[in-house]
């Protein structure tokens, strides 16, 4: 079954998008992303002043994998999990925390912001996003059609990318 990891569409998505922008504004962080635990990016924002981010696919994959590995470590010690992860380099820091059990909120910041500030506003953002998700639960999901046209189109794309020899 095709299901979104989080119900991020319509008004809910707009609210969450605005919350990510607000997080960047208040925390002075560079980038904010919501990713699912498989490593797919669900939403992202960049501060206007921030440089172009690195590949978001790579970032999401690595953070999700890191989170999974940390979860396995936590279980070795009888913990349910480590709810947040902090990575700090000379210039860049990354703060990740659980969101709605199915996703992570990642905030990437530099020396122009302090970790404490990032943590404070990230936690507030998580709470606000969870409220938005809860309020948007009954929002009807967009309908997608996977009819013969869709099948033919995807087959054509596969042939184009991989060749049409059988």
């Amino acid at each position: 079954m095709l299901e979104p990891s989080l119900a991020l569409y319509g008004e809910t998505f707009d609210k969450v998008d605005a919350l990510l922008q607000d997080l960047l504004s208040k925390s002075h962080a560079r980038y904010a992303l919501i990713i699912d635990l498989k490593g797919f990016v669900l939403a992202h924002q960049k501060a206007l002043w921030a440089p172009k981010p690195p590949s978001l696919d790579s970032l999401a994959t690595l953070v999700a994998s890191n989170y999974s590995a940390n979860l396995a470590i936590a279980k070795l010690f009888g913990e349910g999990g480590f709810k947040e992860m902090v990575q700090q380099g000379d210039d860049i820091g990354l703060y990740a925390q659980e969101l709605a059990e199915k996703a992570l909120l990642i905030t990437v910041f530099d020396n122009s912001s302090a970790l404490g500030r990032v943590k404070l506003f990230s936690k507030k953002a998580v709470e606000a996003i969870q409220v938005a998700l809860s309020e948007g639960k009954n929002e009807p999901a967009p309908v997608m059609s996977f009819d013969d046209d869709w099948r033919d189109s995807t087959q054509a794309l596969l042939d184009g990318l991989f060749g049409s020899e059988k």
């Binding site: 079954m1 095709l2 299901e3 979104p4 990891s5 991020l8 569409y9 319509g10 998505f13 998008d17 699912d36 635990l37 498989k38 490593g39 797919f40 990016v41 669900l42 939403a43 590949s55 696919d57 790579s58 994959t61 690595l62 994998s65 999974s68 590995a69 396995a72 999901a141 967009p142 997608m144 059609s145 996977f146 046209d149 869709w150 099948r151 189109s153 995807t154 087959q155 794309l157 596969l158 184009g160 990318l161 991989f162 060749g163 020899e165």
Partner: protein
């Protein structure tokens, strides 16, 4: 389970390359990265040891293109094949939509292939998944070895019921690399269409 992002208008799938150590999983991904056009691929990520053995995973995002306004993307992963990295293999299998099993044709690797397949079934069971229920193909790699095991022998061990699509390959020469990926991608897309 595939991930749909309505806001970004993307459908994302996860394909995992599985198999015993040195069977050619990373070689598959590297050759795909070298040969797929720039617009259809993202950056490749490899977490490996100093001697180039996969430590955690390799990752390559592929962009199939747009259908009905939605980008269809595949995220390819390899697992570390060495026996003692089982914890990592379990983590990488999370949310898998399709599997390419890379078998080694080397004469001394028959048991390792069988063990890796057994390990795959065990790890999938932890996610309540059965191998027969998700898109699954087998690539029999290293067919250029002078003492490569006969295909019949490998088929009997890896797919005794003869139900799984099987592809011969020499991944190091980019032969037989696209075909299993295309096949598993077709199965993944077909499964999505059937279940939606």
């Amino acid at each position: 389970m595939s991930t749909i992002n309505f806001a970004a208008r993307e459908i994302n799938f996860k394909i995992v390359y599985y198999g015993c150590g040195l069977s050619g999983k990373t070689t598959n991904i590297k050759k795909l990265y070298e040969n797929i056009p720039a617009g259809a691929k993202g950056e490749m990520v490899s977490l490996a040891t100093e001697d180039e053995r996969t430590l955690f995973f390799d990752f390559l995002p592929l962009d199939l293109g747009k259908v009905n306004g939605f980008k269809t993307r595949f995220h390819l992963y390899t697992v570390p094949g060495q026996v003692f990295y089982n914890s990592s293999r379990k983590l990488i299998l999370r949310g898998v939509d399709g599997v390419v099993f890379v078998a080694d044709s080397g004469p001394s690797r028959l048991r390792a292939n069988a063990e890796s397949l057994r390990n795959l079934r065990e790890n999938m069971a932890e996610y309540n998944l059965k191998l027969g229920e998700i898109p699954f193909v087998i690539q029999v790699n290293k067919r250029d070895l002078p003492d490569a095991l006969p295909m019949d022998m490998l088929k009997k061990v890896l797919d005794p019921t003869a139900k799984v699509p099987m592809f011969e390959a020499v991944a190091s020469k980019f032969e037989g690399v696209k075909e299993p990926l295309k096949a598993v991608s077709q199965l993944v897309l077909e499964k999505l269409a059937q279940k939606a």
